[in-house]
Amino acid sequence: MPTASDDGFVVFDRVQKSYDGETLVVKDLNLSIAKGEFLTMLGPSGSGKTTCLMMLAGFETATHGDILLDGKPINNIPPHKRGIGMVFQNYALFPHMTVAENLAFPLEVRKIGKSDRDAKVKRALDMVQMGAFGGRRPAQLSGGQQQRIALARALVFEPELVLMDEPLGALDKQLREHMQFEITRLAHELGITTVYVTHDQTEALTMSDNVAVFDDGRIQQLAPPDELYEAPQNSFVAQFIGENNTLEGTIKEIKGTEALVTLDGGEIIVAKPVNVSKPGERTRVSIRPERVEYNKDRLHADAHTLKAEVLEFIYMGDIFRTRLRVAGNDNFVIKTRNAPDQRRLTPGETIEIGWLPEDCRALDA
């Protein structure tokens, strides 16, 4: 679990934020970001992630707690003295300046000489492959190009920390995927610490070193992408990241790393207890769709099996998506790879499905 430590480059120490003095938007936030780390704040809208970013940038003040940058508290430092680069959702390129003037702006206000300035602007433009566009106005550029310029502008004054507030939200899918790659490449090449805010989980998983999942003003889980996906710590994270099947039930017994769960339909299954502690507690059992197997030959010997009725079969090209009724749940989805020997299920058919107990996580209800 995240705890504030002194060795982080950016540290949130028991930070709280309230806008109206009645409700907390950010509740007791503790977060430590190492130098050079790419951290993504992921969460639904209203979860407090953007507020955190704005507090770090200095546009909002923390109601309680300290934010430290490189060991120094920055609560009372105005935004323009923090030296933090920022990329905004709508790019915020100054429309009355050319691309080159936009890039020269942070250097000008830092009183950097003309020749030095030009060299840095040119280097930043080349870095995002926009060298030929210095004389254009932002309005003459496409969304993707504006995005690159916004990125170059946030990096041109060589900040050690860059914040990005849903920077790819306005781009189409293909361009977004390309820019995801581009941004991670730049961040790692330049060794910058990056705090990236998004509500797109794919973006979070593909780009980050660490992902902080926000909900209800708290970090629900802070973990590297693979851990987040495969080992969600609570049912919010399990639901929010990727597709997830949920079976509701009650804990019957916990012994070590195994828990017996009585599903609401009466079936008893074995699951891995994550944040459940005692028998009698309500639980949600989470199983990833691609970890469910129905091909008897491939079922592991230890696999746990249940009866299921096929409700719907969707052909998606690379995978098959099948909706089943399992233990009274009509929305149980399984995903199977479109392999040559894969059987295509037909609605109405009754099959037996199974999974490994460690892929089946008993989470809070």
């Binding site: 200095g58 935004p79 323009h80 920022m86 905004f88 915020a92 009355h96 702006f105 946030a154 914040l163």
Partner: protein
């Protein structure tokens, strides 16, 4: 795919040129649009364009002299005004005949008033002569030179005949020259006496005061608009009502309340005297002068500056300001380099609006302007409604119109009308 090899006009499916097909398809739409605007268009034509065109025409129209005195005008054609001699008997005879007819039709008084604008005394001369002429048996009881001179010595005035000759044409630049403090003399265009010069000074004053008022409106309106645009919607709506409140109050009430405030026995002077800033004997004169006009008009025109400014500022996303600060700019640099340039279209729109309204303003300068705070429009009103010299009024109005159009053109060259935004 369209066949790129085909040359000539693109054809529709039925073989007709595509352009014509498109026009036919859109015709109904165009007719409908036209029908929708027709009532307003006719209304505007009848009540706005036509009267303005008529007034513009009046500034050069001058057929009254040749209409009322056709024979005299003809007879005067050969007279050389520079010779220093009076016209000969034929001219006087023509005048007597014209006057008799004009008197019968009661047209000589109107003519007299017209000629009186150019040289004084004509009005009474024509009235007096008119009474005599109707008893004469024109054209048999001549010679008329003597008879007219008998009626009044003024008929022997060389200047009178020169004026009649000068203004005998159907169109005259005379009103425009008068409006520029000039007149048609015996040697062509000349300046009027310094003592009679008024209009050039009035135009200059109107321009100057309008500029001062516009600048005051920018200075007072910009911060208010900025506040309105940056406050949350609920609060800004409340404040907006305060901005609009003056609109709902009668112009006369607002102007009169400035009188109450600014006069020498008024509220402000009383307070200044009471706190000892001003001596009771030297109360400040703040009304019935330029200061009063500037204060009252700035107050009245302020909403016209605030509203366009506000609507432009409202469209400047706060993320620009944030971006600028995150890039290291101080509050002032952010304002001056990022925010202000983007609000310029609002300043442009507000300034044009305020300036054009100010330059033609009438009621407020009339009420609080005294003598040195009145505008050219007050003179125009004077000529239209009191002196009856519509031609001069029309000429002054035309000049005002031309000045505004020229300023508009200059503004377009410098700032660009495309940059003006009303939101």
């Amino acid at each position: 795919m369209s066949d790129a090899t085909q040359t000539g006009p693109v054809l529709a499916a039925d073989g007709r040129p595509l352009k014509r097909s498109l026009q036919r398809a859109l015709r109904a739409q165009k007719m409908r649009a036209l029908a929708l605007i027709a009532p307003l268009l006719i209304f505007v034509l009848l009540t706005f364009v036509a009267p303005i065109a008529d007034m513009l025409f009046r500034s050069v129209e001058n057929s009254i002299v040749s209409d009322t005195l056709p024979r005299t005008v003809l007879a005067l054609k050969d007279w050389d005004a520079k010779s220093g001699e009076l016209p000969d008997e034929s001219v006087f005879a023509a005048m007597a005949e014209d006057l008799k007819i004009a008197e019968a039709e009661k047209k000589h008084i109107t003519l007299a008033i017209r000629l009186n604008y150019q040289t004084s005394g004509v009005s009474s001369l024509f009235r007096k002569t008119g009474r005599q002429v109707k008893k004469w048996d024109v054209p048999n009881d001549g010679p008329y030179m003597e008879k007219l001179l008998d009626v009044d010595d003024d008929w022997g005035s060389h200047e009178l005949w020169r004026v009649i000759q000068t203004y005998s044409a159907n169109y005259t630049p005379g009103y425009f020259l008068n409006a520029a403090d000039m007149e048609l003399g015996p040697d062509g265009v000349q300046q009027v006496d310094d003592s009679q010069k008024i209009y050039v000074m009035m135009f200059k004053r109107t321009m100057f005061l309008s500029i001062v008022i516009t600048v005051s409106c920018i200075a007072l309106g910009y911060p208010v608009a900025f506040l309105l645009a940056s406050l949350p919607l609920r609060t800004s709506n409340m404040l907006m009502i305060l901005v609009l409140l003056p609109f709902w109050t009668s112009l006369l009430v607002r102007t009169s309340s400035w009188k109450v405030l600014l006069q020498q026995q008024g509220v402000i002077n009383d307070i200044l005297v009471w706190i000892g800033l001003v001596d009771d004997a030297n109360r400040l004169v703040m009304i019935n002068n330029q200061f009063g006009t500037i204060v009252a008009m700035t107050h009245i025109l302020l909403p016209f500056m605030i509203l366009p400014l506000y609507s432009v500022m409202k469209t400047i996303p706060p993320s620009y300001v944030r971006a600028s600060k995150s890039l290291g700019a101080t509050n002032w640099t952010t304002f001056w380099r990022v925010y202000f340039p983007q609000s310029v279209p609002g300043i442009g729109a507000g300034s044009i609006l305020v300036f054009i309204l100010a330059i033609g303003y009438y009621i407020t300068p009339e009420l609080v302007g005294g003598t040195d705070g009145i505008f050219i429009s007050n003179r125009i009103a004077f000529h239209i409604s009191r002196s009856g010299n519509w031609g001069l009024g029309a000429a002054l109005g035309s000049i005002l119109l031309i000045v505004v159009l020229m300023l508009y053109w200059i503004y377009d060259k410098i700032v660009g009308i495309d940059n003006v935004s009303l939101g």
